[in-house]
Structure formats: C-alpha cells, structure tokens
C-alpha cells in the first residue's frame, strides 16, 4: 500500500502550484509572495538587514547573521550566468521541469539537450537555478547576459518563470 495523502483542515497554506508527491511540506509565506510577484513579472527576493544580502528565490533565514530576513527587494529580471552545464539527451518521461515533461510540452524535442544554469540577477547576491533557452550550447559562457522568459499569461506559479535567454 502506498502513502495516503489525507486532507488537513488546518495547516500552513500558501497559494500556488507545487508538485509534492505524498508529502505535506510547510511552505513559507515568502514563496507565496514570490509567485504573486511572478504573476506581475517581478522577481521578489528577501533582504537581510544584517548583511544587506538579497536572496532569490527568497528564504526566511540568514545563516550568516542568524536572523530573520524580514526585508523584501524586487530585483531585475536581467542577470549574468555564473555557471552552466549541458545535459545528456532528454527523452520523453525522463524528467519534469517546473512540473511538466519538457518534451511533452514542446519545450524541447525528444532527444534534445537542456542547458541548466545558475544566474545572478542584477540586485541579488545568490544563484538562481533555471534553464537557458534559445541558445546553442557552444555559445553559452560564464558572464553571458540573460533575461527572464516570462509566460505569456502568468498564473502566479513557478512556471511563470520559464527560463532565461540571451539578451
């Protein structure tokens, strides 16, 4: 018998769409603010008043200062690739990107590669992992300037931020 995911009348609830299998993870309200920001095509990070660092996607705690990051800051949707890799050929059913099969959704063709990247968005101090689209693997380099590819009709979900592309 597998896990049974029961309904719970009282728990922490955040609006948005996450693929969580049988688990009931308690999500931070920051995530809700983050996806609401995505709906407006904004990247909202958390700001630490102690060390002035801006973290994207936001989190509640600063380990260095050991305090709550109670500030918010909207950062640019343009940034710089800090590192990249190129995946093996991706076939249908092999992985889910933002909850969807990238082959089934037409993001890539069956057998094509993906380019996972870390991006440091202008105004942030952390790496955000995403995928580089509309670029050839040979053209990608550390320091490449990129911008967010926004969903045509943002829904307030992580998938509103589809990836990045070269500027």
């Amino acid at each position: 018998m597998g896990f049974i995911k029961d309904e719970r009348p009282q728990t922490i609830c955040v609006e948005g769409t996450w693929s969580l299998s049988s688990y009931h993870y308690k999500g931070s309200k920051l995530l809700e603010q983050y996806v609401k920001g995505l709906k407006q095509k904004k990247l909202i990070g958390s700001f630490c008043p102690g060390c002035a660092k801006v973290i994207l996607p936001p989190r509640n705690l600063c380990g260095r200062c050991h305090r709550i990051m109670d500030g918010r800051k909207t950062v640019s949707d343009r940034g710089t690739i800090t590192c990249y890799t190129v995946s093996p050929a991706i076939t249908k059913g092999k992985l889910k990107v933002l909850g969807m099969d990238p082959v089934e959704t037409g993001l890539i063709k069956d057998g094509e590669i993906l380019i996972p990247v870390f991006v440091r968005f202008d105004g942030s101090d952390s790496n955000t992992d995403t995928i580089l689209l509309n670029a050839e693997p040979k053209a990608v380099h550390i320091g490449m300037r990129v911008k967010v590819i926004w969903a045509k009709e943002p829904q307030g979900a992580l998938s509103d931020f589809e990836g990045v592309e070269p500027i």
Binding site: W18, L31, T82, C83, T85, P88, K96, V97, L98, S126
Partner: protein, 383 residues
C-alpha cells in the same frame, strides 16, 4: 586531545557493482573481519556507531536491522546519517568523553539498491529546486566544474589526468571497484558525457560496499596492538546550501583542514604530511581539494597533477588506493579513506604502499558539491 585515541583494526569489502550479498551479510563480513584484524571479540566492544542514509538504504531507522550484523547485540549502539567519517567523529567523542574505551565504526551503501544520483535529487529544496527539476548531484557537479575551470583556466584534460591517476592506482587495490590498469587519457576523454564536462570516468562509480574499523583509547590500544594509528587531529565543517554558497571553492573543507592541522601541529601540509586519501566524487573536486587542504595556492591544483606531485611516487601522493574514483559505496567512502590512510601508516597497503609514511590525511565529504567535509590527521608510533 584529552585522551589519545587510536585505530587498532579495520576491514573493507571488495567494492563492486551489484554485489550478490544482502546488506546485512555484507556488513557482517566487514565487522567480523575488522574484529579479527584487531584481534578482539565482539564482547570487547563498548559501543558501535554506524553510518548510512535512510534514503539510500531504502528504509527508515535503517540501523535497526543491522544490530546483529555489526556486533551490537544488547550493546550501546547509535547511527549517524551520511558519511562514515561523521560516525568516526561520534565514536571518537564517546571515547574522549571517557564513557567508552573500544568502539566499532561501520559504514555502508549498496548503490545498486537505488541509484544514488536519483537520491541526490531529494537533498534539494523541495519547494524550489526540485520544482525547477534540472539539478541532481551530477548536474550540480557540472555547474561547479565549469565555474572552477573558467576561473582557473583548467581544461578537461586536467580533469582526465586526475581520473587516470586515480583509476590506475585503483587497479593495484584489490578492494577497488574499477579495475582498469591500462586506462588512458583517451579512454577518459572519450567516455560517456553526462552533464558537461562530467564524464563516466571523471565521476565515481556506483558501488556496493562496506567498511568497519575499531577505535580504542590509548590504554586499550596498547593492549590490543603494537601498531596503533593515532588520531592526531580532526576537523569538520559544512558550507551553506548550494544556491547560497560560492561553489567554486570548498570553504568548509578549508576550515575543517585548518582545525585538524592546528590540533595535530601541521604547519606546512605539503611537507608535514606523507600521503592523503581524499573523497573526490568527481575529478575536478580533487583539484579543489588540493587547494582547500593547503597543498597549493588557490587555482594551482592543476599544477600538482601536471607535475606528478600527487602520483603514488610523487612528493605528496594523493589517493594511492584509487580514491572515490576507484570505488564509491557512498556512505562508506570517507571511512574507507580513513582505513586506507591507516593502512599507509601501518605499512599494510601492499602494492600501493607509499614508503615511509609517518603522517597521513584522510578526508570524507557528503552533500551536493561537497557541502560537508571532515578531515583526520593520522600518525603512527613514531610521528
């Protein structure tokens, strides 16, 4: 340290892919052999500490079914998650506290139970990185490698040279998984590409394996053996989560090493140490490890492998046993490094013995991009 503590016996399995033994049988054999190697009985043990990861073991509280295999029947027993070097740290503290005198430390993984690279996905933040869905330990290693290589002008050939060194060394080690005595640079550079630039032969193999060692207080150690291997220094540290750290450096390893060096009185690692056994899960990590351990300046790791300094017959041999590229039964890999370092100190490393080892370093790690690191400095009677 408030008491001296020594390694007095050890054993490891013949690490391999898909071993035809149950987890319990595999663990039992190494524990029995470690007791035999030390010349003591199960009854002589005061405490037993094991290390594994529930996800990799495929069961929770995964030590409950192991108490018989590890010799802990009606004895004090505890378990730590992740690398065996963390279990050794726990056992060391128990002996230092004066409450126990003899400990058995065991670690294992059967990578064939569930692909460890799939398991690594579950170490990621479930509400963001797992939703994005493009990372696991190999993809993250690809990101780290590219970042490091870009900063320090390191080529894929440098990574391949690390792999050739360690895989060729592994061929002299009967316990190693990879047995490729004739491995060449071409073999490595043409091996299957996973996440660029990570190739089949620049990452560790998926191994089944276990190891065990016996730890004793000074008084007991001198009763048990005339060749104790003393723990002269230890340090442990962890980096922040993947997205919030600078993955092109191993800052926590540097900190762990400095703590261990201070305790052991190591001032110039390159000259004060005779050999190092490190947990390089990927070839590029070994270059980063050289730098974090202070064997060279930042960015100069490639020079140590180019010059042959870290070959088995070099000035500072690193991984004469083959390291993690030779075998990687995940949670056992760090403790195997400790055992290999102890073998070098005792002169028991056979075909891959480094001459005149007085002081050895062993390193264990766990987590994506080597997030957690532990360093031990071991010495013999004459050190």
């Amino acid at each position: 340290m408030i008491r001296r503590v020594a390694i007095v016996g050890y054993a490891q399995s013949h690490h391999q892919h898909n071993m035809q033994k149950t987890r319990e049988d595999m663990v039992f054999e190494v524990c029995k052999e470690a007791l035999h190697h030390a010349g003591i009985l199960r009854e002589d043990l005061d405490t037993v500490i094991t290390a594994s990861t529930d996800f990799l073991d495929g069961r929770t509280i995964s030590s409950v079914f192991l108490s018989m295999a590890v010799g802990a029947f009606l004895k004090d027993e505890s378990k730590v998650e992740e690398d065996g070097t963390f279990a050794l740290y726990y056992a060391l503290m128990r002996i230092l506290a004066g409450t126990h005198d003899v400990a058995l430390v065991e670690a294992h993984t059967q990578g064939s139970t569930l692909n460890p690279h799939q398991v690594s996905f579950y170490t990621l933040d479930p509400l963001f990185d797992r939703q994005v869905g493009v990372l696991n330990d190999v993809a993250a290693a690809g990101l780290q490698a590219r970042m490091y290589m870009n900063r320090h002008s390191v080529s894929e050939e440098h990574l391949a040279k690390v792999a050739v060194k360690n895989i060729a060394n592994a061929a002299e080690n009967p316990c190693a998984h990879r047995q490729m005595p004739d491995v060449s640079l071409e073999d490595v550079m043409s091996s299957k590409l996973y996440y660029d630039p990570i190739r089949e032969l620049t990452m560790s193999p998926i191994s089944d394996g276990a190891c065990a060692l016996i730890l004793a207080s000074e008084e007991k150690a001198r009763e048990i053996t005339d060749k104790p291997v003393w723990i002269e220094g230890v340090g442990s540290c962890q980096d922040p989560y993947l997205r919030d750290r600078n993955i092109q450096n191993l800052d926590s390893l540097k900190s762990a090493a400095n703590t261990a060096y201070k305790m052991a009185g190591v001032k110039e690692p390159l000259s004060d140490l005779d050999v190092a056994e490190v947990s390089e899960k990927f070839a590029h990590e070994e270059l980063m490890i050289y730098e974090a351990l202070g064997l060279c300046q930042e960015g100069q790791g490639k020079n140590l492998v180019e010059s042959g300094t870290t070959r088995r017959n070099g000035e500072m041999p690193v991984n004469p046993s083959g390291g993690a590229l030779g075998a990687d039964p995940v949670c056992a890999t760090g403790l195997i490094r400790v055992i290999e370092a102890a073998k070098q100190v005792r002169g028991e490393a056979g075909a891959y013995q480094v001459p005149n080892v007085r002081r050895a370093l062993a390193h264990g790690q766990f987590g994506i991009c080597a997030q957690k690191n532990t360093v031990y400095i071991l010495g013999g009677n004459g050190s």
